[in-house]
Homo-oligomer: 393 residues x 2
Amino acid sequence: MVDGLSFRLVKSCPQTWGRLGELTTPHGVVSTPCFMPVASQASVKAIAPDDLRSIGVDMLLSNTYHLYLRPGVDVVQKLGGLHRFMAWPGPILTDSGGYQVFSLAPLRKVDDDGVLFRSHIDGSEHFLTPERAIELQEALGADIIMVLDECPPHDADISHVEQATQRTQRWAERCQRSRRRQDQALYGIVQGGAFSVLRQWSARAVTDLGFDGYAIGGLSLGETREVMHSMLEVVVPLLPEDKPRYLMGVGSPEELVEGVARGIDMFDCALPTRVARNGALFSRQGRFNITNARFKDLDMPIETGCDCYTCKSFSAAYLHHLFRCQELLAYRLATIHNLRFIARLMGDIRRSLDDGSFLSFKESFLAAYHSTDEEVRLTQKRKWLRSRGQPST
Amino acid sequence: MVDGLSFRLVKSCPQTWGRLGELTTPHGVVSTPCFMPVASQASVKAIAPDDLRSIGVDMLLSNTYHLYLRPGVDVVQKLGGLHRFMAWPGPILTDSGGYQVFSLAPLRKVDDDGVLFRSHIDGSEHFLTPERAIELQEALGADIIMVLDECPPHDADISHVEQATQRTQRWAERCQRSRRRQDQALYGIVQGGAFSVLRQWSARAVTDLGFDGYAIGGLSLGETREVMHSMLEVVVPLLPEDKPRYLMGVGSPEELVEGVARGIDMFDCALPTRVARNGALFSRQGRFNITNARFKDLDMPIETGCDCYTCKSFSAAYLHHLFRCQELLAYRLATIHNLRFIARLMGDIRRSLDDGSFLSFKESFLAAYHSTDEEVRLTQKRKWLRSRGQPST
């Protein structure tokens, strides 16, 4: 492995594929399984680094695509790199920009050389290649950087997905060759859509190249839960035991538990922070919306027993009031609660992996947690994916 | 004075009317001159009680009009009163609702009995009387409450202002008679517009009634600075030495200094927080806008030497980026800086009153501080006053 970066497998669950691990980076050690909140534009929306620390967040993800467009990678570099720019001293992972280019930017044109796209902000034209994706991420200076991948939509046909998977593989090689910094980990990405044969091919090909960690991309894009789970079950056994495994774009509380059970070490997702800003708050019983009239005069915290700043300080009635009045404080307080919920969940998962009780933790968590109805979930997810590329995203 | 409430004049400036004092309330002691940030809807926009504490805010103002409409005074009372509802353990002052009714609510009709108005939120009709204003404020439970006053626009003619001033006086008597709680201070209000004779009459009449403190209302409403200063110079000598004097709706850094020099002990204003959300930030040199291109890659704090969380943690370039991207964090960080600027300014004023150097502090502050051009200021102020009553205010 590269300078100051390593992964240690601490313990494996005897009944599931769950694993307890330790990820060492130049900016600190992270216990895995871990969840990374998303700081798209060098800010986890509505909260600051002091909040992240008190929530217990260990590691963040930031988007190269967004930072490249605003404020520009040169500005971040001039300001001392991403950690210093956003005043976050802990570990950071940057994605390559690929996912945003393929989901957010209009008018893209992809060939083997790279991908031509227009900015969703001002329509300006840009060309992203594997070499450029590495160059940008080396300038940003995250602890972990990603290869450029082509990410087709969840309902693309097999020939489209096959072509994208093979191109992703060729781009991974080029990314590997072009890297210069030795103090950043570079992760490869397994693609292959919902097709087992392509997933298997991709997992074998990318591990043959040899990376510091392996991500599974192209999931949580509107396919059903069953498809995602079966793809994980195809891919994970083909990944090396001694490297971290990262499931991109997941997730919801229940999917974090399911992912850990299938051998995943790292997750990122904007969902906990995005739904918080709509008033959707997590509890061990499931997600509820604080704007509902039943909270109007409820003199109880959002979630009894939660130790977050929001629950320790304010009633559900006050949160309800702030959301009804569209007070800016609402978004910070709700974000703090949802991220603290996820941080506590990941802590509980790690403790149960440590003492061998993960399977029973998983079963009791999922029995108590009322998941969003699958059909509603898919409708919301697909609607959200379509709405991206609008100025508000 | 009433239970647990008192005011002590500590020291008077030998060269100006400035005074150092100490205001004791059931929720803590406040050194004066003091500035109260505005928490219209039981929240100082974009920041939380933990921020207020770290900024060094001693006391808040909240608006009875807003709380009456949302969430309803009954809800706040059920949740344990305003302090507990908003998790602010320090002193609070509520206004009577009069100013908002006269500036914000459409379709109002005023007679001696009270004022009929429509909610600016849903158009529902409400009737506010002096007795009801006291009842609502007693239910909210602030440390200091205000009489109901009629507040005419700054350009009203003398007969309109005379009528309003006399009605304010009759309402003050009714407020005084109707109060029941002995653990809240009740302040009278001097009105009289820009007319010295009316201001004198009002100051004499309201002090004859005898209140726990005296506010000067109906200023900072679009009149020139000279008019405001001359009205203060007419009114302040007629107010008793041993009671706190509160200038409502002021202000900007330069007007705080000018107000202290004219014998004012207490101020409130939404300006520091409102302009912060537009990117207008205070420094000892004056107000500047962080969205200006010159900050794009400036690797310095907003204000060198400022000890606020924002300045200690982030560069001007990062703030510029957050504002350009409309990241929610921008509003919190800018609000923290502006309120900390005001808190430091008030601390400096109090120290200079204590050591006898206030006049030279005032002169050097005003010499360094580049005020907003008076014509621009009045245009902005009047535009903002007209725009109130829109859902966004």
